[in-house]
């Protein structure tokens, strides 16, 4: 099908207005009336791509609505920014997790093609730096809750690739013993992970609550979760971030601006230019990083985690990148203009980090790199074996466990018994106050 002619449905963007948030004809204010806010932007490039709906005409004259991309598609690829913090060992370790993340997802794709997966497979292709480097910034006692494209974070926090593989294959050996799939599992004992649910934004108040619980026990911890540019549209996202801001809780929220929410471009999701600007509205710090640059992601996440540990409150980190596959394996992402894939493929987080480590920093020789990749392949193959060999759960294992019964879990404060802060020592006396409804 050849395209004869295109015409734009709208003059600028699909939402019809430029994305700077300022209304046309805003009055000029005296300097003293202007407030200024800063959103640090650590990126080394600022892609100016925009997506809009346009009508294309087929050969036979049939008109169809398609997305088209505008902007400088030939912009030079930026280098990786030197990290303020990462040592050689740490940088190589993050690189290793990113490789593991990608190879695990390749293995999952193969398992799907072999008919071994129940349902679909979700990928974080192009987002490995964001998932792995942010999780790497957490301390041992911190918490996290991954969204579907953060399967790399699970590896960083100590889960095996086989755990995720068994989830996808609905195996008895999976962390949820077959009861849920994908990255939907958790661990409140060792790895401090809250299981995600499919609804977007609901983890944000939960992670805020985790830090509230720890604070009541005398500890300031960080709790990291991610939300997409689509997910941040939900109401509970606002409620959760605002709660963290008001209570000054150690939430670290990475907003993954990956440009596509299933098939909807970010232009149809929000009007501000950068989602980090939302932080201003919550009264908390917001920063922008290149989500394909592990060093930028790590540095911003580490700053946010340290803020949380100091009890200084939440941070919003916007990481810009692109989802390099469809929503899930069934989705070929045919709605994405091809030049966008080509643009972002040149910004592949792993290829560029590899170049940074091998050629720029010389922290890894070509031989060490080859060995590392071979080691990852072996690890993934061994994990795959474990996963494939796990049996399916018995039908009866669908029963039970709805409630925590006598003795199945001991409930105790994780960070120590809260020390009683004395109030006024006011004693109990009955209330005689007026009520809302008689």
């Amino acid at each position: 099908m050849s395209i004869k002619k295109t015409k734009s449905l709208t003059k600028q963007h699909s939402n019809g207005r430029s994305r700077n948030g300022s209304p046309p004809g805003a009055k000029t204010l005296a300097n003293s009336d202007l407030r200024t806010y800063s959103i640090p932007d650590y990126r080394l490039e600022h892609p100016d791509l925009t997506v809009r709906q346009a009508i294309e005409k087929d050969k036979d004259g049939t008109e169809r609505v398609r997305y088209e991309v505008g902007g400088n598609l030939d912009a030079p690829v930026p280098p990786i920014r030197d990290s303020k913090y990462l040592t050689k060992r740490q940088a190589v370790e993050i690189y290793r997790y990113m490789l593991l993340n990608r190879k695990m997802e390749v293995a999952l794709e193969n398992l799907y093609k072999q008919g071994k997966v129940v349902g679909g497979v979700y990928f974080g292709l192009g987002q490995e730096a964001c998932s792995c480097a942010s999780a790497y910034a957490l301390g041992k006692d911190d918490w996290f809750a991954p969204m579907i494209r953060n399967q790399g974070a699970l590896l960083v926090r100590g889960f095996g690739a086989s755990d995720t593989m068994m989830q996808y294959m609905a195996k008895a050996g999976s962390p949820t013993k077959g009861r849920d799939g994908t990255s939907h599992f958790g661990d409140i004992e060792k790895r401090n992970m809250v299981s995600p649910i499919s609804m977007l934004g609901d983890l944000i108040p939960v992670l805020s609550g985790v830090t509230l619980g720890a604070r009541l026990q005398g500890r300031n911890i960080a709790a990291l979760t991610w939300i997409g540019d689509g997910g941040q549209s939900t109401g509970v996202t606002y409620e959760g971030i605002n709660f963290a801001a008001v209570q000054n809780l150690g939430l670290v929220l990475v907003v993954e601006s990956n440009l596509w929410a299933y098939s909807t471009p970010s232009e149809m999701q929000y009007r501000v230019r950068d989602l980090a600007e939302r932080a201003i509205g919550y009264g908390m710090p917001g920063v922008i990083v290149d989500g394909t640059d592990a060093c930028q992601v790590y540095d911003a996440a580490r700053d946010a985690v340290e803020r949380a540990h100091r009890g200084e409150g939440p941070t919003l980190i916007e990481a810009k990148m692109m989802r390099m596959k469809g929503h899930a394996i069934h989705d070929a992402a045919a709605y994405v203009p091809k030049p966008m894939f080509e643009f972002w493929k040149k910004r592949d987080p792993i290829a560029r980090f590899e170049n940074h480590l091998v050629k720029e920093k010389k922290w890894l020789t070509a031989k060490e790199n080859t060995e590392l990749i071979a080691e990852i392949e072996r690890v993934i193959e061994a994990e795959r074996e474990i996963a494939v060999n796990s049996p399916m759960p018995t039908p009866e294992s669908a029963e039970g466990g709805v409630f925590c019964e006598e003795g199945c879990h001991e409930i105790k404060p994780k960070y120590g018994m809260p020390k009683e802060k004395k109030g006024t020592r006011a004693g109990y006396k009955q209330t005689e106050a007026a009520v809302h409804l008689k």
Partner: protein, 323 residues
């Protein structure tokens, strides 16, 4: 000691906070103001603002934060200003909190509490009984006490439970009824119904404010020579199947009485349990007395018409006795 229903709830939470430092409260206007109904009046003075947290008006955030804190071993007690507003947090409750233990084995020891119920002319958004939204959600315990004794004992049991409990406090009862509450520590077990009046002729299965409606109707019917047995469910999820079957087997005739709308209401579920457990013992049709299938209206004559009244119970009981 004679306490109001509200005071019994308040005392239950207070005592649990005194003896367990992991218990804390959060909700809208619960601190210095003491809550819209004053259930947490004076709490912030005694326990401090760390443990009595005034939140933004954000029900999903309240439930989410309570759940998150519970994962670290705390025992949050979250207030809904009115239980009508629990719908704002439905996804957190239904998909996050209720499924957590079944799916990934994490206990969530939290209590979601607040005032529900009609007879106060609160209108369609301040009079609802939304317990059925949660009865159909496996993983939640749903508690609806009728007396000060049960309210305090069940509140303590809910706070000590390892599972998410939704605690419906009937606002009509808050300051209208008083009852004997012992000074010493006690709990009322969750999931156990209670015979509040013994009788031989027919059973009324009910809970919350309707227990009192049933008791008053029973007094009227006594003068007709009809002896009513009243089973107060106290917990609507999990239901006490044994107690339901036992009373039906004893009287052979049953009325199920509740405030919320008839269609999809609890009476349908109880009728099904009777069908499964005691079908052969029935000597008459299972009778439902319930709210109308509409929103609960505001104007007093309309609200009175919508909600079950003593006269409705007397009329239906006479009809069933004669069957």
């Amino acid at each position: 000691m004679q306490l109001t229903y509200l005071e019994a709830i308040r005392q239950g939470i207070w005592e649990e906070m005194e003896q367990d430092p992991t218990v804390f409260c959060l909700g809208e206007d619960i601190g210095i103001y003491g809550g819209a109904f004053k259930v947490t009046d004076g709490f912030i003075d005694r326990f401090g603002p760390e443990r009595v947290i005034d939140t933004p008006i954000a029900e999903s955030a309240i439930v989410g934060a309570a759940f998150g804190a519970s994962l670290t071993g705390m025992r949050p007690v979250a207030e809904f200003q009115f239980m009508d507003f629990i719908g704002c947090a439905f996804n957190q409750i239904s998909n996050m909190v209720a499924k957590t233990h079944y799916l990934w084995g994490a206990p969530a020891p939290l209590v979601l509490r607040g005032p529900s119920g009609g007879y106060v002319h609160g209108g369609p958004f301040h009079s609802q009984n939304p317990e059925m939204w949660f009865v159909h959600n496996p993983g939640l315990k749903v508690i609806c006490p009728a007396t000060p004794y049960d309210a305090k004992g069940l509140m303590k049991a809910a706070i000590r439970d390892s599972n998410p409990c939704i605690f419906f406090e009937h606002k009509y009862l808050y300051r209208r009824i008083k009852g004997e509450v012992p000074a010493e520590d006690y709990v009322v077990p969750i999931g156990k119904a209670n015979i509040v009046r013994e009788g031989r002729d027919l059973s009324i299965i009910t809970y919350a404010a309707m227990v009192h409606t049933a008791l008053e109707a029973a007094e009227v019917l006594k003068s007709d020579g009809i002896e009513i047995e009243i089973l107060d469910l106290r917990t609507v999820s999990p239901l006490d199947r044994e107690a339901i079957a036992a009373t039906v087997k004893k009287t052979n005739k049953v009325i199920i009485l509740h405030e919320h709308s008839r269609t999809g209401g609890l009476a349908g579920e109880i009728a099904a349990i009777i069908n499964e457990e005691a079908f052969d013992h029935l000597d008459g049709p299972i009778v439902r007395i319930a709210g109308l299938d509409s929103a609960i209206p505001f104007s007093p004559p309309q609200e009175e018409h919508y909600l079950p009244q003593i006269g409705d119970v007397v009329r239906e009981a006479r009809r069933l006795k004669a069957y």
